[in-house]
């Protein structure tokens, strides 16, 4: 009793009698949608307070390190590229190459988190973090909200990067073990989609937080 709607040639190669390649992807797109809506709530908050505290956002945003932010943007974009190349290599039955690109993607993700660590560390050393004495006593409401949003938004995004990192490592093991192969790659493709989403969200976060100011 396999799927009733039109099935994908890939289903025949899977060990799972209920394999449904298209269904896997449909389901995952629904999940990606929920992620977008989740961040949508944060973006809504951002726009609301940006309208309310235009000047303060301008002032606070100018303290962010554009160089590091831009660097991280390049890192993430490149990691999306290597992610696609890894999938394509696997589809062309080049397992070694696929693992190489997947490994590079993982390294880029790590690099992103390292840069993030230094960025956040610098903010903390200036006392610019939610709940800090300095922020609450010597800055205006708008600046407090800006840094509240900055840490929540980049933090939520960072959690997604870490989860992506774990998922990518998991995929690395499965490709290595041959559990994911040229005829059954739905998992790798879905993790790739997730990774592009993480990338996409950053592409909106970067200008909103670093540049709009």
């Amino acid at each position: 009793m396999s799927s009733h709607a039109a099935s994908h040639p890939q289903d025949a190669h899977s060990d799972n009698p209920h394999a449904d390649y298209i269904g896997d992807k449909v389901g995952f797109w629904f999940f990606l949608y929920t992620e977008l809506v989740l961040f949508g709530g944060l973006f809504l908050g951002y726009f609301f307070y940006h309208m309310k505290y235009k000047e303060a956002f301008h002032e606070a945003g100018s303290h962010l390190n554009v160089f590091m932010g831009a660097g991280n943007t390049v890192v993430l974009l490149t990691s999306s590229l290597t992610m696609v190349m890894s999938l394509t290599a696997l589809q062309k039955r080049k397992k070694g190459l696929s693992l190489l690109y997947l490994g590079m993607t993982i390294l880029f993700a790590l690099a992103f988190m390292v840069v993030k660590y230094f960025e956040w560390g610098a903010k903390f050393s200036y006392g610019l973090y939610p709940g800090s004495e300095i922020l609450q006593s010597s800055h205006s409401d708008g600046v407090i909200i800006f840094y509240g949003l900055y840490f929540v938004m980049t933090g939520t995004h960072g959690v997604h990067v870490v989860l992506g990192l774990l998922a990518l490592s998991w995929m690395f093991v499965w490709v290595w073990q041959g559990k994911i192969h040229a005829d059954d790659y739905a998992y790798l493709e879905n993790v790739g989609l997730y990774w592009h989403l993480v990338d996409l969200i950053w592409i909106y976060l970067f200008p909103l937080l670093y540049l709009v100011a």
């Binding site: 009733h4 389901g27 949608y33 929920t34 809506v37 989740l38 709530g41 939610p130 929540v152």
Partner: protein, 557 residues
């Protein structure tokens, strides 16, 4: 696959199969291990029917807790003055009653129990699209529920302030709100995964020959519901997390003393929580659409109109959230616009009601227990819906806001709609789920007690609200004594009816007659397999040969 009649269900669709087999083997010599293996065969099973029953057991356990809280609140309100509980205890009680009833019972409600059990059966599929994720959703539900229960007894004590957790009170109170919020977030995650699973299942696993408009209307209602779960739940998820972060890190977003705006919390909360009201009611409407034709022996009137209106309710639900905030200080323009859009929701709802009535017209109506409950739905839900109109209009809402009128309206809609729909489903699909039949006479007597008690309990609330009695207060003025006493006595009668109903169903489960595969002579696909269905549901792939409501001979498309 044919041996399903012996064991209640097969136990070979389990996760951690190696461990399970080891325990089973040990069970050959030890009754303790046999018992463990039996439990594991349930809680490790990815079979959608078992997952549905797991939800049933968990949810009705919580339901009984929340009902007890409700009874205790009514006891306190029996007369003016303090009866049994301190005001602080009372605050915790209504918060818990609300949190459990909404997040643990009526939101997951019909989709998690009956949707899980019936969706693949009604589509002619072997299981949902992602069976393991389905089981994982149940675990997330249980984890969330445990966190909610733990929050009552751990640091700071039971959360107060109501199930809506409005800022700024929720960010100031010393009670254990944070854990309750994380619990609600986890429950939301469970709800999202169930929604994703159902959407994918409906898109991918319809039986050969079954088009979108050949699906039973219950499936349509699950489809609309799943869209709401996927589209709206993440918003409340992030809102609840922001509130937790507000409490722990002081990010300032909802905190007016740090420049934040508490009204933003209300917006973000209701952007989810209004659509989710339709998560509570749409599946019940689907149940009614499936039950009425069976017992009126007629094709459902206006199939497509009902299907489209289901989607229309789901869609329009996103544009009305601010009608919860007419007294929050939003602008007059916003109030007028949201009031107007709110009235638009009444249109698809009325379309359904009229179609159901038209289905009954000239049908050969047979008042069996499921039908009795379905007709009750039409009655109580109509009261709930019509009393809602007074709240949708800004002028009357200003008077009625935060009074008992709102409580009465809400319970007529949620309990008289969602809850009664669930009882209708319980009586309708009981023979399919258990393979046995309950006693009709006792089912009807228990219904009678429920119906009388229900109206005695909630109708006085509507009147009290119009008279000006505020909600969420632990005490009230003596002029409200009489109606409050009536309501409290009604609560006893209603609870007696519920207990009676479950006793009757339990007796049916244990010693009822064998029901056979299709006791109601119904036409949807779940009745084509044996009761209870075997693992993977059908001996061979069923094909669509007649419509889901084909009671009059021809396949009305």
């Amino acid at each position: 696959m044919g041996a399903g009649a012996k064991a209640f269900y097969h136990d070979d669709a389990v996760v951690f199969a190696g461990m399970f087999q080891a325990v089973k083997k040990a069970g050959k010599n030890s009754s303790v291990f046999r018992a463990i293996a039996w439990v594991l065969s349930w809680i490790l099973s990815t079979d959608h029917k078992r997952v549905g029953i797991l939800y049933f057991v968990a949810m009705f356990s919580f339901f009984s807790v929340a009902v007890s809280l409700g009874i205790m609140m009514r006891l306190e309100l029996f007369q003016s003055g303090q009866q049994f509980f301190e005001p602080k205890t009372y605050n915790a009680m209504f918060t818990l009653h609300g949190v459990i009833m909404t997040f643990l019972f009526i939101v997951p409600g019909i989709p998690a129990i009956f949707g899980n059990f019936l969706l693949p059966l009604q589509l002619g599929a072997a299981d949902v699209s992602m069976p393991r994720l389905n089981l994982a959703s149940w675990y997330m539900y249980i984890i969330g529920a445990i966190m909610a229960v733990v929050s009552l007894f751990s640091n700071g004590g039971a959360p107060d302030g109501g199930w809506t957790f409005y800022a700024p009170y929720s960010i100031q109170t010393q009670t254990n709100v944070s854990l309750a919020l994380v619990a609600a977030f986890t429950l939301g995650l469970s709800s999202i995964f169930t929604g994703m699973n159902f959407l994918t299942t409906i898109h991918r696993l319809k039986a050969p020959g079954m088009g979108w408009f050949d699906m039973p209307l219950f499936v349509w209602s699950l489809y609309a519901t799943a869209w709401i779960q996927v589209l709206a739940t993440p918003v409340v998820g992030i809102t609840l997390l922001l509130t937790v972060m507000e409490r722990t890190l002081q990010i300032g977003i909802f905190n007016p003393s740090l420049g934040g705006d508490p009204v933003l919390y209300q917006h973000m909360f209701w952007i989810y929580s209004h659509p989710v009201v339709y998560v509570m009611i749409l599946p019940a409407m689907g149940v009614i659409s499936d039950v009425l034709p069976v017992f009126a022996r007629r094709h459902i009137f206006g199939y497509k109109a009902i299907a489209y209106s289901t989607m229309a309710i789901a869609g329009s639900g996103y544009f009305v959230w601010a009608h919860h905030m007419f007294t929050s200080g939003i602008s007059d323009v916003a109030r007028l616009v949201f009031s107007f859009i709110t009235f638009l929701v009444a249109i698809p709802t009325a379309i359904k009601i009229f179609n159901w009535l038209a289905t009954l017209y000239r049908g050969s109506i047979q008042i069996d227990p499921p039908m009795l409950w379905a007709l009750t739905f039409l009655f109580t839900f109509s009261i709930g819906g019509l009393t809602g109109l007074a709240l949708g209009a800004v002028v009357t809402d200003i008077h009625l806001h935060d009074t008992y009128y709102v409580v009465g309206h809400f319970h007529y809609v949620m309990f008289g709609g969602g809850g009664v729909g669930m009882f209708a489903a319980l009586h309708h699909w009981f023979p399919k789920i258990t393979g046995r039949m309950y006693n009709f006479f006792h089912a009807k007597v228990s219904w009678f007690f429920f119906f009388v008690g229900f109206n005695m309990l909630y109708f006085p609330m509507l009147i009290l609200g119009v008279m000006g009695m505020p909600r969420r207060y632990h005490d009230y003025l003596p002029q409200y004594d009489f109606l409050n006493s009536v309501a409290t006595i009604g609560s006893w009668i209603m609870v007696f009816g519920i207990l009676y109903m479950f006793a009757n169903l339990l007796k049916g489960l244990l010693s009822g007659e064998k029901a056979g595969s299709n006791p109601w002579n119904a036409k949807t696909m779940e009745w084509e397999t044996q009761s209870p269905p075997v693992l993977h549901n059908f001996e061979k792939q069923p094909k669509m040969v007649h419509g889901p409501y084909d009671y009059e001979g021809e396949w009305v498309k």
